[in-house]
Amino acid sequence: MADPIKVYPAKPRKVYFFGTCLVDMFYPDAGIAGVELLEREGIEVIFPQGQTCCGQPAYTSGYHDEARSVARAQLDLFPEDWPIVVPSGSCGGMMRKHYPALFRDTGDEARAASVAERVWELTDFLLNVCHIKLEDLGQPTKVAMHTSCSARREMGVAEVGPALIGQLNNVTLVEQVRAEECCGFGGTFAVRHPEISGAMVSEKVDALVETGTQDFVTTDCGCLMNIAGYAEKNRKPLTGQHILSFLWERTNKAGGGS
């Protein structure tokens, strides 16, 4: 569950960037967009090349020994006291909420706690730590947003995406019905219970299409590949983007706010 009270740090000089495995392999543009946005805010971004995955897939599948081994390899990557920003509510939630439990009663308990308390979901960090002000350079458009369940409920950032999009003068945010409902991704859930997951994503896609826009953004690449992948396979008029890519495209002068 979300922190009862979130205490944001002062805007730092440097941050660690934890890219997540899905961004790494499938959506590196989203990662780069995040880095660009941070750098434009005057923050130096450190990307530890030793990073792999937060360990969540094994953790939620019950393979905690395997998850711990992967997670432990990440604990070494952040020696300085800088915030760790993550372009995902899900991986952020894993590190912030579940690392302490995963390393309970181990010699790494303190290290895990020190990592966990420094982890921030990236859009939350941009809005509430960097106090970013976005200048929209793009054409008028409408967009829908799907906030991932972990971004909403574990990281407590449901208000952040809409607030950032709200800064864009030419963008109208449209709300789908049952915006709070899960898209049906859930990691290995999607392949363990394909019919249930399929039923969930089909209704999510319908809800997004019914808003009258063809574009949606989301905080998490898991939801993105689920929703966009369903829309593509079923020829629904809907394409998706990571919210960071969208924000960067709308506001960078070189890109002309495509």
Partner: protein, 476 residues
């Protein structure tokens, strides 16, 4: 669970039943409509409340009660006994059934009328009693309908939510001769008439308990219909049956839990009746049962109680909000689970009752979206408990060995090997970078099909370069 467990649909058949429910537009529509309504009503019922603080209080009340559970049970027993209520203890459902049968036999009772009780569903009391020649008739309208159809409840608060009016009318026509009608008032009135006769003639009334108050020896029942009051007032003998975790120290605790329960369950500020029973009929009184019994049922609860994390399962006050808000429950309905308690609470409770071997699919049937934990009035961390049970079902944590009966049953050597390989690759950054670099470079070889994923979606497309590579290039 018991030798009568075969009466239930098989919990192992979750997949085929879920598939069937998803393919049934009527079921999908019934549940979607009902759950949408319940979610909206709950939200509006809590308007103007500091809900987080209230939930915190609810959680603390339940935790405090659990912390003193054995003392409270003894205090409750003492108070009830002083009040003239006889207390019985049952280690499992079978023993509870036998206790109830013995009370019936001692009174030469042949017919039992029942108020809603999930614990009696858990122990399959009706099935047991009918085998003993005692008729047990449900009187809650939803339970009555479900019993006429020879089904089990599909929701703990609204047992017949899977049926629409037309289906219910046909059922009542076939089984009771009620005229076919789509008029809910008519159907309800005709059930009233049928059940009034049964109330007057029943030898014993069996009910559940929502809260058992140790301080005063009071059994509290929450209901809208009045059948609970009938059941506990009209027959000469009333037997209440409840899980051992339902005891709370004081009536003050009840005032807070009641505020949470009804609003969470159905979005009502309070139910029509809040019935507090503290004793049988006194000599000078003119109605009420001459005998009152309480059967305290363990049925696995004392085992759950041993573990600091699993213990949270016992906080539950059975409001059903977790299922009302569950996107999986909404799609598959209550029967797919094949368990007494469906939905999220069922997924964390039933494995203790049927064993994790039988119930191995239950904890996996969740996207871990967290909606259940968010609405739980006593803040049960349901998603965390689902993960805990997933770990138990594959014996996945050497540091925290599994302890739930039937643990490890889901572990397959193939899956374990895959996760070991995955773990090795992701624990070694060099291997990971080599592997992902290779995959992206040869992405044209990526198969278009990826198991069950691509039954519904296209496969995600590998990027031409990984973020690792692009960040390295950026630095140069």
């Amino acid at each position: 669970m018991t030798d009568s467990a075969h009466h239930h649909v098989d919990v192992k058949q979750f997949h085929p039943r879920a598939r069937e429910a998803i393919g049934n537009p009527k079921i999908r529509q019934n549940f979607r409509r009902a759950m949408d309504g319940l979610m909206a009503k709950r939200k509006s019922a809590f308007e103007g409340w500091d809900l987080e603080t209230l939930r915190e209080l609810g959680a603390n009340i339940r935790l405090r009660a659990l912390a003193n559970l054995p003392d409270l049970l003894e205090q409750l027993e003492q108070k009830l006994t002083d009040n003239g209520i006889k207390v019985h203890w049952a280690v499992d459902g079978d023993e509870a059934c036998r206790i109830i049968r013995d009370i019936c036999v001692a009174r030469d009772a042949k017919s039992v009328i029942k108020g809603k009780s999930m614990v009696s569903e858990e122990m399959e009391l009706n099935h047991y009693l009918s085998g003993e020649g005692i008729e047990a008739l449900e009187s809650d309208l939803g339970e009555y309908i479900v019993q006429l159809a020879d089904e089990t409840p599909s929701h703990i608060i609204m047992p017949a939510i899977h049926k629409n009016t037309g289906e219910i009318s046909e059922l009542m026509h076939d089984k009771t001769g009620t005229d076919l009608s789509n008029d809910v008032e008519y159907l309800t009135a005709s059930a009233r008439q049928q059940l009034r006769e049964k109330f007057m003639n029943a030898d014993v009334g069996v009910s559940g308990v929502n809260f058992a108050v140790a301080e005063t020896g009071t059994l509290c029942l929450v209901e809208n219909e009045g059948n609970g009051r009938m059941t506990t007032t009209v027959p000469p003998c009333h037997i209440a049956v409840t899980g051992i975790e339902k005891v709370v120290p004081s009536l003050e605790d009840v005032s807070a839990l009641l505020a949470l329960l009804t609003r969470s369950a159905t979005g009502q500020h309070i139910t029509t009746y809040f019935n507090m029973i503290s004793g049988p009929r006194k000599p000078e009184e003119l109605d009420g049962p001459e005998e009152v019994h309480l059967v305290l049922v363990d049925n696995g609860r004392a085992t759950i109680y041993q573990d600091d994390e699993l213990l949270d399962t016992l906080r539950c006050i059975r409001c059903g909000a977790c299922m009302n808000h569950c996107p999986v429950y909404t799609r598959v309905g209550g029967h797919a689970y094949g368990t007494t308690y469906p939905g999220p609470i069922g997924k964390i409770l039933m494995p203790h009752m049927v064993g994790l071997d039988e119930g191995r699919h239950l904890p996996t049937a969740s996207s871990l979206c967290g909606a259940c934990g968010e609405v739980c009035p006593v803040k049960i961390p349901i998603p965390d408990l689902l993960v805990r049970l997933r770990q138990e079902s594959v014996d996945g944590d050497k540091l925290h060995p599994a302890r739930v009966r039937g643990h490890g049953a889901k572990r397959s050597s193939l899956e374990a090997m895959i996760w070991k390989g995955w773990s090795w690759m992701h624990s070694n950054a060099g291997v990971y970078r080599f592997g992902t670099g290779l995959a992206t470079r040869f992405r044209m070889l990526q198969p278009g099909k990826a198991g069950a994923w691509t039954d519904y979606r296209t496969a995600p497309k590998l990027a031409s370069k990984t973020l690792h590579e692009r960040m390295k290039e950026r630095k140069q």
